[in-house]
């Protein structure tokens, strides 16, 4: 339901772009953090979304952006956002950035330069959605384990009824596995948070193996986690974010203002059926999980 609504809104917004086609051309500069596939996918999807709307928008890919004339800068990733805020005067829409990283970056902006108008479309999922997902996918797993490093800025969420959070701070790399085992003993699932001190690519292997051995499913934050052996995850793909950005461009073209920073409107559900089978966890198909999430979301509203 929520998804249909979102899609309707997006399509509506893009249709609006079409009506703007007659108006003045909007010059959008696209700054990518690098040229690896996720950024390329975003770029292709954004061009596709804009093209299908016949909007009068020119998109220039710019790695440095110095001197480029632009009405709006789309900065994809943290590095791109830093470049965009430093080198452009135009408003910046930062996308594919975690909320915590984005907020930290805002705090670090150079005082020498007048700040741009800036907003963001985050990469991370809102806590309410994440917890709603766990509840919809694993109704019997009510204790959510969470590991974080002391420097991580995690605002612990308010929990839906019947759910409890078992969060532990990992003091040092040496105590990571002691804390992990401890938390696995008293949790039904382990939820990954974006914390590269804990979930570095070398640690993820042993975290996955340890949690699997203790029969505690891991909830990832990307398809890569699911492929590696996490039970499931919700995440937004570069394509999904690009459509949301296209809608935001339309809104900007109309109003000349950026919306408040927002979470991704649409998301994907990834599940690893083999891991579910092996752990003896009954996992509904993604469509059913999504329906349950929509129902829960409506009830909350």
């Amino acid at each position: 339901m929520l998804r249909q609504l979102t899609m309707m809104l997006l399509t509506g917004a893009i249709a609006l772009l079409a009506t703007l086609a007659q108006a003045e051309t909007l010059h959008v500069s696209l700054v990518l953090s690098d040229s690896t596939p996720p950024y390329q996918q975003f770029s292709i999807a954004l061009n596709k979304a804009l093209a299908s709307s016949n909007a009068n928008v020119t998109v220039t890919e710019s790695s440095e952006g110095r001197g480029a004339k632009a009405d709006l800068v789309i900065a994809v990733g943290m590095k791109a956002t830093e470049i965009a805020t430093a080198n452009f005067k135009a408003p910046v829409l930062s996308v594919m950035v975690p909320k915590a990283g984005y907020e930290a970056l805002l705090g670090r902006r150079s005082p020498q330069k007048p700040p741009n108008a800036i907003s963001a479309i985050y990469l991370d999922q809102p806590w309410s959605r994440q917890l709603n997902f766990i509840k919809a996918a694993l109704p019997k797993h009510s204790i959510v384990g969470l590991l974080y490093s002391p420097n991580a800025s995690i605002v612990l969420p308010r929990l839906p009824p019947g759910m409890s959070l078992n969060a532990k701070s990992v003091r040092s790399a040496e105590t990571l596995f002691a804390t992990l085992e401890h938390i696995l003993e008293s949790s039904d699932v382990l939820l990954v948070v974006p914390d590269n001190e804990i979930y570095s690519s070398s640690n993820v292997r042993n975290i996955l193996l340890t949690s699997y051995r203790q029969k505690v499913p891991l909830i990832g934050i990307s398809q890569a986690y699911v492929n590696a052996g996490a039970l499931c995850a919700i995440f937004s793909t570069p394509e999904q974010l690009a459509w949301q950005v296209a809608a935001e461009i339309a809104s900007f073209a109309r109003s000349g203002r950026l919306s408040e920073p927002q979470y991704p409107a649409s998301f994907s559900i990834g599940i690893n059926q083999q891991v579910a089978n092996s752990l003896g966890v009954e996992l509904a198909p993604p469509e059913v999980i999504r329906q349950r999430m929509d129902r829960e979301g409506e009830m909350e509203q």
Binding site: P98, L176, A178, E181, S202, R205, N227
Partner: protein, 709 residues
């Protein structure tokens, strides 16, 4: 050896050195979401849940082993319904399943991390010399039923699969010391590290005790009526496991182990203890080693290939003298009183095994495993075999796990093998598991498995050289195998129920089975067989014993396991088994009805299972780091095949109390802290008789102190 150890440790430590992780703080970036990982839980790493396995399975985890207070690996198997654990003496445990219990227990496959330790010469598992420390065991999976399709040949009545800690499983240093009754003196030190591409763990351990120190046997030599059983033993071992991941898709698991075991044997009275002189008091020395390399290559997320190789070497030396012969024929063979003939009971065994296995998820509902393997077993045991054989076996196997509907699962598989005697057999297995709901599952399965004859059964020539009289070299023989045997065949059918009882995870496992074993190979006790113990030359050896294969047996029964969790801190495991066996001469044996030895053997087979047996294990964690474990074991009357009388009802209670301190108080074994544990075996001092009727169970206590750094 010392130098070898030093070098090995040095190599391992230098690998571990660059492993320390950098602990630098930063805010999250999109890379936390976009980073790619290698596939960790690849197709072959995912195990089947107990409710979907084709056979009934018992899992004994680390916590259960600890709570039971088991000091020997064999003792852990008392927690498997229907499994027999007994002691021939202090250093020779016997583990057998589904009856036919003798000193060898030949109908069960035993694997340690996939390495078959069921050795070819006698067809036995020498539990005491295995180069692994019980504290390195992560869990034990026991397949109760034939499982050749998944576990290879000789998986006839069951499979024991011992899984040790992963290389990453001991990331700290641990030191443990035990002292107790009967000369118990154990020490172990382990260290390990977890790194980016390398993980390792190393264990150094020594175990020693005086065996059943206070036990007495009747003296046959006159004088002292009761003597101490001579079964002191000591073992030193080193064991290491290394995991190396050169790329995201390749993982190498390297395991090395070495053990040096000394065991005292012989039971003559103290008056005649002159070692090696006209007495069978002796020390048996066993050096055992293994090397295992497993390469797991992930092709993609639903397919991986595993190539594994291992070698096991075992060298046993046991040199002693026979009792003097005074009535030998011809009389010239009689030896001077006081000195017998030398018996060099030495054996060298080597096993090389190579296996390739491919696991692939054909679809989300279908996982397929297939592979092939070759094994080369060689033995040099002049006192036991006619010659030094090299046996080669080849196998091809496939197994499919197919989720037919959302509630139904079919496991179907088979292994084809060509044994060393050139005989080819196919062992199929099929099972259907039906989930009545997410918590309740029914299973029905049927399988066939074969046990190949062992070297002693086919080529046995057990005895020793006497002297030359004239031109004739005389040899004393206890066993002379005629050969020409074929594999034993087992057909098993079972129905089972696996249920989850509550949200805490309490489970109930029930199973009824009916197994038929045909062409059972047994040691035919010829009417005029000379002696039971080849160490004692008492008569002329005109009619040595032979292995024959002409009777069948059926085993049926019920097994149940309840695992009940009382909240977070308490767990109760209750096992019960009801077993019935029947045996009769096979139709292919025309002389069967007239062979009293065969009739006797068949009769005894029926008694080798206790009608009722059970065990109970309760563990509780008190707040403040105190842990309690209570184990109670009971087994009805059982006939051991070699024994003259039945082993009567056996019943005893084991207790373990532990106090943790430091960082371990909150159960965090991986942080600094420690534990002091007191184990009292047979706490009520029940004087039960063991496998060997010379052993009377007595209370025995030991204290273990463990420190973690």
């Amino acid at each position: 050896m010392k130098q070898f150890l030093y070098r090995l440790c040095a190599a391992v430590f230098s690998i571990g050195a660059p492993c320390g992780a950098v602990w630098a703080a930063d805010h999250p970036t999109e890379q936390d979401y976009l980073q790619e990982f290698p596939i960790v839980l690849s197709a072959s790493r995912l195990s089947q849940p107990v409710s979907e396995t084709p056979n009934a399975m018992t899992v004994i985890d680390r916590n259960m082993i600890v709570a039971s207070g088991a000091r020997n690996i064999a003792d852990a198997f008392k927690l498997v319904p229907g499994m027999y654990v007994g002691y021939v003496n202090g250093h020779t445990p016997i583990v057998s399943y589904r009856g036919s219990t003798d000193a060898y227990a030949r109908r069960m496959q035993v694997l340690v991390d996939g390495r078959s330790v069921y050795l070819p010469l006698f067809g036995e598992v020498d539990w005491a010399e295995l180069p692994i420390d019980i504290a390195d065991i992560d869990r034990i999976e026991v397949v109760r039923g034939p499982s050749a399709a998944s576990h290879g040949s000789n998986s006839v009545q069951g499979v024991i699969n011992i899984l040790t800690h992963q290389a990453s499983g001991v990331p700290k240093a641990l030191v443990s010391v035990s002292r107790g009754d009967a000369g118990i003196s154990d020490m172990s030190a382990r260290v390990g590290s977890v790194g980016q591409n390398w993980d390792y763990r190393v264990t150094l351990a020594s175990h020693a005790d005086h065996g059943f120190d206070n036990m007495f046997v009747a003296d046959t030599g006159g004088g002292n009526p009761r003597v101490t059983l001579n079964d002191s033993n000591a073992k030193q071992l080193i064991n290491t496991r290394i995991n190396y991941r050169p790329t995201g898709i390749d993982s190498f698991d390297i395991q090395l182990g070495y053990s040096d075991t000394s065991r005292e044997l012989g039971d003559l009275p103290p008056a005649k203890t002159g070692k090696g002189l006209a007495a069978s008091l002796r020390t048996q020395k066993t050096l055992s080693d293994f090397q295992q390399l497993t390469w797991l290559h992930t092709l993609h997320e639903s397919s991986d290939v595993q190539l594994s190789y291992y070698h096991i070497g075992r060298n046993t030396k046991e040199n002693y003298y026979s009792t003097p012969c005074i009535t030998c024929t011809p009389a010239a063979l009689n030896v001077v009183a006081g000195i017998g003939y030398p018996i060099n009971n030495n054996a060298v065994i080597h096993r090389h095994d190579l296996e390739l296995q491919h696991t692939l998820n054909v679809s989300p509902n279908n996982r397929f495993v297939w592979g092939m393997g070759a094994r080369r077993d060689s033995a040099n045991a002049p006192n036991n075999l006619a010659y030094s054989p090299t046996w080669r076996e080849y196998r091809l196997f496939a197994h499919d796990e197919w989720r037919v509907t959302s509630s139904g699962l079919i496991n179907i598989g088979a292994m084809a093998e060509k044994n060393a005697l050139g005989q080819t057999r196919v062992s199929p297995r099929v099972s259907y598991n039906h989930h009545l709901s997410t918590r309740h599952t029914l299973r029905a399965s049927a399988s066939v498995a074969y046990r190949n004859p062992e070297m002693i059964e086919e080529l046995g020539n057990e005895g020793f050289l006497l002297k030359k009289v004239g031109a004739t070299q005389y040899r004393w023989r206890d066993v002379l195998a005629a050969g020409g045997l074929g594999p034993e065949r087992a057909l098993s059918r079972e129905v089972g129920y696996i249920g989850q009882l509550d949200d805490a995870g309490s489970t109930l496992d029930l199973r009824a089975y009916h197994d038929q074993i045909s062409n059972i190979i047994y040691l035919d006790l010829a009417t005029t067989y000379p002696v039971a113990d080849p160490g004692n030359v008492m008569a002329s050896a005109t009619s040595p014993r032979n292995f024959k294969s002409d009777f069948n047996a059926t085993y049926s029964g019920l097994e149940s396991t309840l695992n009940y969790k009382f909240g977070e801190r308490s767990k109760l495991t209750v096992n019960y088994a009801h077993q019935v066996a029947k045996a009769s001469p096979s139709r292919s044996s025309p002389v069967a009805a007239f062979n009293p030895s065969l009739i006797g053997a068949a009769y005894n087979y029926r008694l080798t299972v206790p009608l009722h047996s059970g065990s109970l294990l309760l563990s509780h964690d008190f707040s403040g780091g105190t842990q309690l474990g209570v184990g109670f074991y009971q087994q009805g009357k059982t006939q051991i095949l070699e024994a003259a009388t039945q082993q009567p009802l056996t019943r005893y209670l084991d207790l373990r109390v532990a106090q943790r301190f430091g960082g371990w108080q909150s159960k965090k074994e991986r942080s600094g802290g420690g534990e002091i544990a007191l184990v009292i075996q047979n706490a009520l001092n029940d004087h039960y008789t063991d496998f060997s009727s010379t052993i009377i169970g007595k209370r025995r206590a030991y204290l273990t102190a463990t420190l973690g750094f």
